[in-house]
Amino acid sequence: MVASGAMAAVGAIATAWPFINNLNPAADTLALSSIEVNVKSIAVGQAITVKWRGKPVFIRHRTPEEIKEAEQVKLADLPDPESDNARVVDTAKKVRPEWLIVIGVCTHLGCVPLGTKQGDPRGEFGGWFCPCHGSQYDTSGRIRKGPAPKNLAVPAYLFSSDTLVKIG
């Protein structure tokens, strides 16, 4: 009795799995998982938004002041402590402090923070400001103030040359 009941339960779960798994991303959706961007035309101090996996990715050419500001913050002051160097490194472990690449999705509830376009409000920490619930990010894309729990995510990327970056 117990054995056949257990078998039935295993069978039921095994049958349910394809239906649940069916809702996961399809192969063609997964296939869109990397893009290549030429960053040559982004001047120092400027930033652009590119679309990757249906989400905005911010690529920011940081000024020396912005880099300095990001590097000098004490880790103890950060809600989600992470050094600036750890956020500007590509998959080949090469650190490029002038290029900050982050996913432009607020870690609170998924809005796109302002601060990439010229004239956008950048918040008190000179990075990004999320208009939905007031989260503020610094010049390293780290959360400094507001309800967001984490720093803006850094996607896996690789510079194949000084001006060509592959995201994903």
Binding site: N24, P25, K51, R53, P147
Partner: protein
């Protein structure tokens, strides 16, 4: 409850009798909707169950008609809705009926819930009836949310983003759950497709739960404004014609207000930003849900912690499930509860204040006010309801419904 209105019906029409002998649908209608003994003292609050049922049928009817012209695809959905508005014969009317109908369905259901809270309709032996009602509310919320995504406007897209991201607050598996919900790395065509499938399915699930709700209702019959059980035929009247007429009148009055909005202010209850096509790269400066979600949205934002906010928001509905056991009072109706009755009104004001907070950006005064409002909401259910039932001294109950009704008439 034994019927006080005579023996099983005899049908004169031979066809009806033939069918009823084999499938007793006519006996059922006769018993449950004609002779069904119903308390004689209902006030107009007892109309809203019938009104909500009519709205459900109307939403399904308009929804099916809309579905014949709607295209559930990220690149075509917005234009197909505009085509319904401009080119499809009477399309504008059917869509406005559906859109405004959602709001009026919630109005009817919220008044229906208030009625239950004020008159203690959730108390024994109607606990399961009440719980089925909360299940219907949850299903309605899910259906309304997914329906709002279908026009694929800015508010559709970003509302869906914010709400689905609530699940990312779940520890460890949160992000995997959100990817699973989306069917991708962001809200996109797979999300729209599954929301459309579910938006079409869930109303029929609601119909099924409503049927159970009605079955549970007809076991012990309706509660009434006095909250005391009918003691005999002198306390009840047959459902038809008395309450079919009264419900009909109530439905008609409700429809007048509803039609006024449909024809003269169809967009008053919605957000203009939803007439801008969805853009995954640009967030509108101010994301607000539809008005019927605002108090819950305010609760979500009142808590400074992401997971805490999500728990409180779902908790504000979940707490309703246990209301029958949180209320310790031995009388049902607030008519005889001199203290608690005022707190029910305070709860209504609290919900309205939370709604106003939810409609505004979370800055300045709205932050502390929404925190106080959230605190009070839970205080009402978790502290006030159990404690007050113990210490409050209810007014003396009348000996019977007939006695109270006739005395009122004489006095």
């Amino acid at each position: 409850m034994a019927s006080s209105h005579g023996a099983p019906p005899v049908f004169k029409n031979k066809v009806v009798a033939w069918i009823d002998y084999r499938l007793p649908i006519f006996s059922y209608i006769e018993k449950e909707y004609h002779t069904f003994p119903t308390p004689r003292n209902f006030n107009y609050f007892w109309n809203f169950g019938a009104i909500a049922t009519v709205m459900l049928v109307l939403m399904i009817a308009t929804g099916i008609v809309l579905a014949t012209n709607y295209t559930p695809h990220a690149t075509l959905a917005f234009d197909s809705v505009e085509r319904i508005m401009r080119d499809v014969p009477s399309g504008w009317l059917v869509r406005y009926l559906h859109m405004t109908g959602a709001s009026f369905f919630f109005i009817a259901v919220y008044i229906h819930i208030f009625r239950g809270l004020y008159y203690g309709s959730y108390k024994a032996p109607r606990e399961l009836l009440w719980i089925l009602g909360v299940v219907i509310l949850l299903l309605m919320m899910a259906t309304a949310f997914m329906g709002y995504v279908l026009p694929w406007g800015q508010m559709s897209f970003w509302g869906a983003t914010v709400i689905t991201n609530l699940f990312s607050a779940i520890p460890v598996v949160g992000d995997a759950v959100v990817t699973w919900l989306w069917g991708g790395f962001a809200i996109d065509n797979p999300t729209l497709n599954r929301f459309y499938a579910l938006h079409y399915l869930l109303p029929f699930v609601i119909v099924a739960v409503v049927a159970l709700h009605v079955v549970a209702l007809h076991v012990h019959g309706s509660n009434n404004p006095l909250g005391i059980d009918p003691k005999g035929p002198q306390d009840t009247v047959p459902f038809h014609p008395y309450y079919t007429m009264k419900d009909g009148f109530g439905v008609l009055c409700f429809m007048i207000v509803y039609a006024a909005f449909v024809f003269f202010a169809p967009n008053y209850l919605g957000d203009v930003a939803n007439y801008i096509p969805a853009d995954p790269m640009v967030t509108p400066t101010h994301i607000v849900p539809e008005w019927y979600f605002l108090p819950f949205y305010a609760i979500l934002r009142a808590i400074p912690d992401k997971l805490g906010g999500v728990i409180c928001m779902f908790g504000s509905i979940a707490v309703l499930f246990v209301v029958p056991w949180l209320d310790t009072s031995r009388v049902r109706s607030c008519t005889f509860r001199p203290i608690y009755k005022w707190f029910v009104f305070v709860l209504v004001i609290d919900a309205i204040v939370l709604g106003i907070c939810g409609a505004h950006p979370p800055e300045g005064w709205y932050v502390p006010v929404s925190r106080i409002g959230t605190f009070y909401y839970f205080f009402h259910f978790l502290i006030l309801l159990p404690v007050l039932g113990k210490i409050e001294r209810p007014l003396p109950l009348p000996p019977s419904i007939a006695d109270a009704v006739l005395k009122k008439k004489a006095g």
